[in-house]
Amino acid sequence: MKFWQKVFLCNLFVIEILFISASIYLINNSFNINLNTEINSGISEQSRFCSSIETNFYLLKIQKTAGGHNVTVDKESIDSMISTYLSNIREQDIYYEIIDQDDQIIFSNLEMNISAKRDELNTISNKINYIIREVNQKEYLFITQRVDLDSHYYKVTCVKDISKIYINRQYLLDILIRLNIGLSLILIVVTLILSKVLLRPVNKLIRSTQTITEGNFSERVKIVTDDEIGVLSENFNRMAAVVEDKITQLEKISADKQRFIDNLAHELRTPLTSIIGYADFLRTTKYDEESFISSLTYIFQEGKRLEKLAFKLMDLIVLRNKDFKMKEEDLRELLLEVKDTLAPKLAAKGITLEIFSEVLKMKMDCDLIKVLLTNLVDNALKASKSGDKISVKAFKNDEAKIILEVKDMGIGIPKMEIPKVFEPFFMVDKSRSRANNGVGLGLSLCAEIAEIHDAKIEMESDLGKGTIIKVIFNQGFN
């Protein structure tokens, strides 16, 4: 059921109950008042009539007694007195009927046939009985009174046509019905218009949800009202924004994954091509000494590359799945340890590594930080030439955050490429990195490790002058 139909039915229900019952109550009330007035006026008229009969009787009696004394008036003369008196009365809508004590009709100008039992006739002296009776689809008020005239008594019935009151009531009820129908029609129209107006923002919302369902997640509702619908659409927009964010995030993640896989495939195929190619060359052709040696060297080198790739990939996978044991450790000790392991490599290239650090305790996974530091120093090493210096510093900055800094005087990185170096497999100079045995996963690894330690990595670099990498550990971590 549509909203406006519901509203209409509710309104109709309330209006019917209140309006109809109130109207019917009013109509009935006025009907009762009218009826009572009719009855009262009928009764007083009846009384008046009865007393005038009595007066006439006394006049007759006086006339009769004028000649002799104390004569009783006989019944015939009373009857004829009543008849003559009555036949002189002409009143509209009022009829009279006089019945004597033997139930003989003395006078009647009733034009109708009354089939029902005449209960009102069972009357005791001086009590007025009345009854409303429907005869020939008309309502009549029957008022009966007993009149005692000496030794005789008569039942005087006055009949009054009161159908007007009933017709009136029926008329009012008819009006009520017509009014009610008209009102309902108006109500339909008004509800329809009103709900159209009220529901316009809701319909807008509906359209927006449909647009969003179709995949257009940047859709927003433009509704500026300060009612509940305004609040709803505001919340709706907020929800849509969150959903859109989440979806772009997911899309980015999946695009990153796809790129990772593409790059990985490329990085796997390249050494494989060489290994397979040289091996095939050696087994199928007649080679000279020189190509023999160089082919084997390439096979060995590229095999090593694959090995390194496999190990780094494994590191990455472990990083993503492992539970890390964070323990309070001394950063300084760790730096010295890394220096020891790298010493042969440094010496071979003629590079000095300087370490500046106080005792700095922080919570960390020792193995991971070692991997991080080794990778950073390894990068610095590869960028440097013989005689250069690399310095590693660990200190607390003004905000009491622990900072690990690796600084070299090497070739540097072009400004444009700095954001890209953290992407898996990215190498600024592919052939150079490859000659250095790089696979381009070192900094990706570092970024993951930093994230696990709630740290961020900042990089500054001057082409040809050197590079500074800072790992800034967040305070909350200590």
Binding site: D262, A265, H266, R269, T270, P271, L272, T273, S274, I276, G277, Y278, D280, F281, R283, T284, T285, K286, Y287, S291, S294, S295, Y298, Q301, E302, D429, K430, S431, R434
Partner: protein, 218 residues
């Protein structure tokens, strides 16, 4: 002599290609990035270009656009192998497409195909006293036509085209009988025997222990 430009940034692969080309008697010139390749093309004439797609400085597709007006045939070499990439490469105007990792034989076969298509390689091959017409599938020995079955001829052509290179039995089956051939490797041996007998190539078709056969000019 046919000169081929090899544009490939990975040094080991570039050298590998060069070695293979030299075995097949091609002259190979190597460059390692797009810009150098462009300079080379402007300065020298090449019969064919082997082009890596992912190149530093200028990628293969861009380079291809510049090569096209010169009418030099191009074979793409790439590590990407998805179908869309292939379609894109061919639509961009490459003559063929080979994906890493590839085998030397495969590369040489494609080069031959493309060169023949451009009429840079004649359909007549002379080997010792044999004249082999690849287009008409005819072998003439000292002025006389030698009757060979289709498979025998294909085998001979394949051997001649891969002079001094060992052709394994698997490779021969794959090339001449097709992937879906389920016969035994004995079939290959039988055909080789027939070739040796019909063309008197006992000294030239060498059996390489455990691998296959090699045609040599002894």
């Amino acid at each position: 002599m046919i000169t081929i430009l090899v544009v490939e940034d990975d040094l080991p692969i570039s050298n590998l290609i060069k070695l293979n080309l030299n075995v097949a008697n091609y002259n190979a010139v190597t460059v390692y990035n797009g810009e150098d390749a462009l300079k080379m093309i402007e300065d020298d004439r090449f019969d064919l270009i082997l082009l890596d797609v992912m190149l530093p400085k200028m990628d293969g597709y861009t380079l291809l656009e510049k090569i096209k007006p010169l009418g030099i045939p191009v074979i793409f070499i790439t590590a990407k192998s998805s179908v869309t990439d292939k379609v894109y490469g061919l639509r961009a105007g490459a003559d063929d497409y080979i994906s890493k990792p590839f085998e030397g034989i495969e590369l040489l076969a494609r080069i031959e195909n493309v060169l023949r298509h451009y009429n840079k390689k004649s359909n007549r091959v002379i080997f010792k006293d044999l004249e082999i017409d690849l287009a008409e599938m005819k072998v003439i020995k000292r002025g006389e036509v030698v009757e060979l079955t289709l498979k025998e001829f294909e085998l001979l052509a394949f051997l001649v085209q891969n002079l001094n290179v060992v052709l394994t039995r698997e490779r021969l089956i794959e090339k001449i009988w097709g992937f879906d051939y389920f016969g035994e490797t004995r079939t290959v041996d039988n055909h080789i025997q027939k070739l040796r007998r019909k063309l008197d190539l006992y000294d030239n078709i060498k059996t390489v222990f455990k691998l296959g056969y090699r045609l040599e000019e002894s």
